[in-house]
Symmetry: C2
Subunit: 516 residues, 2 copies
């Protein structure tokens, strides 16, 4: 057994059994180990941004890390933007990065780079394996680090000679993942007092507060106390739909966030941070919290958020009240007329299948989506968490690999989609049940809005050239077909409804372009 085999066997033993990858020569011994040892599903991405984003999607749906296997500094570099998003999503990932043989490094060959330096900004744990006998143990430490709250990316750099050297029987045993600690009773009691006070209170949740038992507890708390349930604008995973607790998403636009929070003198944070706008604007306070608002942290990101919500519900005897739930409200299937972002959202709400997973990076074109889908069949809702565009298709790949029995709806803006469209190819190769909708407004609409919002006037020709991505228009039907994904361009409601229905029944990926 060589180091590569010890690495792969150790990971499989620890249930890290999916590998999203784009390997290179320095990873060949790891590839050979993956080839020989049964138990790791390998999924190829034709660009590393697909690989890192897919690992994010997988982790969001399973709570467990996939591993990624990337080629030296440049391979890691290409994966970093979606690792930025994964870092912000606080999901567990074991990022394995190949390195030159340790004996080769001093030659400074063309692919040599400061891999640790590149990995550090997004790694909660970072190590270069030094010997074949230790690489298995390193892998287990990486896996445990990734799954210790707050979850994150553990980067293990594996030199080629560590991989190829005889390791003896150096498979490391899996160890149990530490449970996140509960918050103090003081923190729980303060939250209970605030909620009992009758003062309008926001319960702003993230992490495990937004699905499963954490969300259920939040629903009982809201039912008992009239607390307003909110999620941050960036959402790692939110369960929503008819019968589930209604959680409103913070708006992206600062003024709207200020307006939403204006009536609440109390905010309780459960796994969430104090809200702040994505960007600074001259002369504006980026924190949309009203003056004098009492902010209390019930559970930090490092604590058991779902457990805290359950304990809080229990302290409040909230189970005696009717839980707060979203009423069923499935829009009618629209028909006739031109397709708009509004009736497209209505059609999605009407047709979204039970237990679907919605990946939403539709940006400005998707404003109607959350209202149109809030009362429809229960589903999971995943968004861009770090603001690094180009996550939708990769995230859908990973979520689909994690959830083979569920339908994926992947909503992408055209500007974002162009970043990592290679994800479509992986959907086709793996026959993933993903229906991708590209909203093609042919501009970076956010930037146009921000340009004016920043008080620099209206964009002139040179600025417009940086915001408008038509000239030439991008033909998403051709792009998708070029990567093996059947595609349709929908300009009318009826064409869209039919394409969406067909897509949701197809045993593999499809794409619908909506020219706006």
């Amino acid at each position: 057994m060589n180091g590569a085999e010890a690495l792969v066997s150790s990971l499989i033993q620890a249930r890290v059994d999916v590998c999203f990858t784009n390997p290179g020569t320095s990873e060949m011994h790891v590839v050979a180990a993956l080839d020989r040892i049964t138990g790791m599903r390998c999924v190829l991405g034709l660009f590393e941004g697909v690989v890192s984003g897919a690992a994010d999607g997988y982790a969001r749906m399973t709570g467990r890390p996939a591993c990624t296997l990337l080629h030296l500094g440049p391979g890691l570099a290409n994966g970093l933007a979606n690792f930025h998003n994964a870092y912000r999503a606080q999901v567990p990932i074991v990022s394995i990065v190949g390195q030159h043989a340790l004996t080769h490094l001093h030659h400074d060959a063309p692919l040599t780079a400061d891999i640790e330096g590149l990995a550090r900004p997004y790694s909660k744990w970072l190590r270069t394996s030094r010997t074949a006998s230790e690489v298995g143990r390193d892998a287990i430490e990486a896996q445990i680090a990734s799954q210790t709250a707050p979850h994150g990316i553990a980067t293990l750099i594996v030199p080629a000679d560590v991989a190829w050297t005889e390791a003896g029987d150096a498979v490391a045993k899996a160890v149990s993942v530490p449970k996140p600690p509960m918050p103090s009773s003081k923190a729980l009691e303060r939250a209970a007092r605030m909620l009992r006070s009758g003062v309008p209170t926001v319960l702003l949740m993230a992490g495990s507060g937004l699905y499963g038992k954490g969300l259920k507890a939040a629903g009982t708390i809201a039912g008992a106390t009239k607390a307003k349930l909110l999620a941050p604008y960036p959402i790692t995973r939110l369960e929503r739909g008819a019968g589930l607790p209604p959680v409103e998403r913070m708006p992206y636009i600062l003024d709207q966030a200020v307006a939403l929070l204006a009536g609440f003198p109390q905010i309780i944070l459960a796994g969430a941070r104090i809200p702040v706008s994505y960007f600074a604007y001259p002369g504006k306070n980026p924190v949309p919290v009203p003056a004098g608002c009492e902010i209390h942290c019930l559970a930090t990101e490092a604590e058991d958020c779902a457990g805290a919500l359950e304990a809080l519900a229990s302290l409040l005897s909230a189970e005696k009240s009717e839980p707060s739930t979203e009423p069923q409200n499935i829009p009618a299937v629209p028909s006739g007329g031109d397709l708009t972002t509004v009736n497209a959202a209505q059609a999605i709400g009407a047709l979204l299948p039970e237990n679907a997973i919605v990946v939403d990076e539709s940006m400005t074109s998707g404003r109607s989506l959350m209202p149109a889908t809030k009362g429809c069949s229960p589903h999971d809702y995943l968004t861009n968490t770090g603001g690094s565009i180009g996550i939708a298709m990769p995230l859908a790949v990973g979520a689909a690999v994690a959830s083979p029995d569920r339908r994926l709806l992947c909503l992408s803006a055209d500007g974002s989609g162009m970043y990592t469209m290679q994800g479509l190819w992986t959907m086709a190769r793996e026959s993933l049940k993903v229906t991708t909708i590209v909203f093609a407004n042919r501009e970076y609409a956010v930037l146009k809005r921000e340009f004016s919002g920043l008080g620099v006037g209206n964009p002139g020709d040179r600025a417009k050239n940086m915001f408008e991505i038509g000239r030439p228009d991008i033909d998403w039907v051709s792009l998708a077909q070029g990567m093996g994904v059947p595609a349709t361009r929908a300009t009318s409601v009826d064409v869209f409804v039919k394409a969406l229905q067909q897509g949701l029944e197809t045993d593999g990926p499809t794409l619908i372009e909506i020219p706006l």
Copy 2:
């Protein structure tokens, strides 16, 4: 005048007048300045790998830096892989990266990242501007640093509030770029002695030794001394073709490099490093230099390589001999039959127009290209310099922007092409005269070869799944058309010849897919 305007005006004054970009909200004041101030050509890439690779291509052809303007940590991250190549190419680039307002950083908003950490591995100069009154001077320092030998990437991080704050009249004056120093007379004399000795000698050149007056001097030295002229496998820019000094490229494969150098007891390095294989192989010496070989460094990367070659030629009175030149040898235009990598290379050699620029990332499919083109019309030849795949289309974009009167031939492997195919869109938008040829062998052929070469046997199904990029086959004609580039699939010699002829006459980009 605000900081952004001081920045842009200072750069323009220093002849940094092309900006490859994909900006975001934090860069809006810089965009507004680019909009208002005349003199900077802005070229949009729909993915940052296009932006960074284009800046590389521009610098290779002009010797001057373009600037890049990228959005925060993630935008920079997406550009890093081609910055890796640019770093290895030792080309000057002024990399401007937006940053949150300094007042916004402590909020740790979703897009916050350690930008300096991400930039450091590839930056020879790195600074975050602190005030609006200093950002212009910072830009000039960055430009000078990028153009001080060895050239490199100077990264200037510009916080949004530095950009939007009043700067007074803070345009910084251009200063002259320092000339690289000449090597010592001792170094020159030792090289002259070695060449006069009659011992077979290699002159291994890089940087300014491979074009212009440096190359011309090398040709006279070779004519006078029979020195063998070599270039490293990674080539930033090589002038070649009929009438120019014949420079052979080091082979990628280690055993072939060993064989090439075996007959040479002396190697003189002019701007080049001691050759080393890209990767380590168990039990093999990665340095292909024969035992006992005398290696002398005539000029380091920080010295004036072209000047050193001219001085050496003069020391040797080489101008009295006939310079070594490549005889004209233009292949006949092939006709009839199936298209192969061999007759495709022959057609390229036959049809390559005078003064073309050839960008070559054709990988294993391009083995016949250099022999078939060495005696054809003089041209510049640019390759991947850092081993990070996905440089061809971006490099062609930048070289074409730098050289509007020249024809570009962009040769890409399919695996490499999938990394940054968004470059095709920029070619279409800017009507660049680039004919792209994609060699579609539907596999990472290098990896298949390396897998076996590393002694791990033949790849099984799982390994093959990581090397073979068919299933589904990628349709490059659809991809290109989807981004506004007219495209043809050539399966016969005649179709290829016709498509190539047409492409080379089109006033804009075209693409030819060669399925292999």
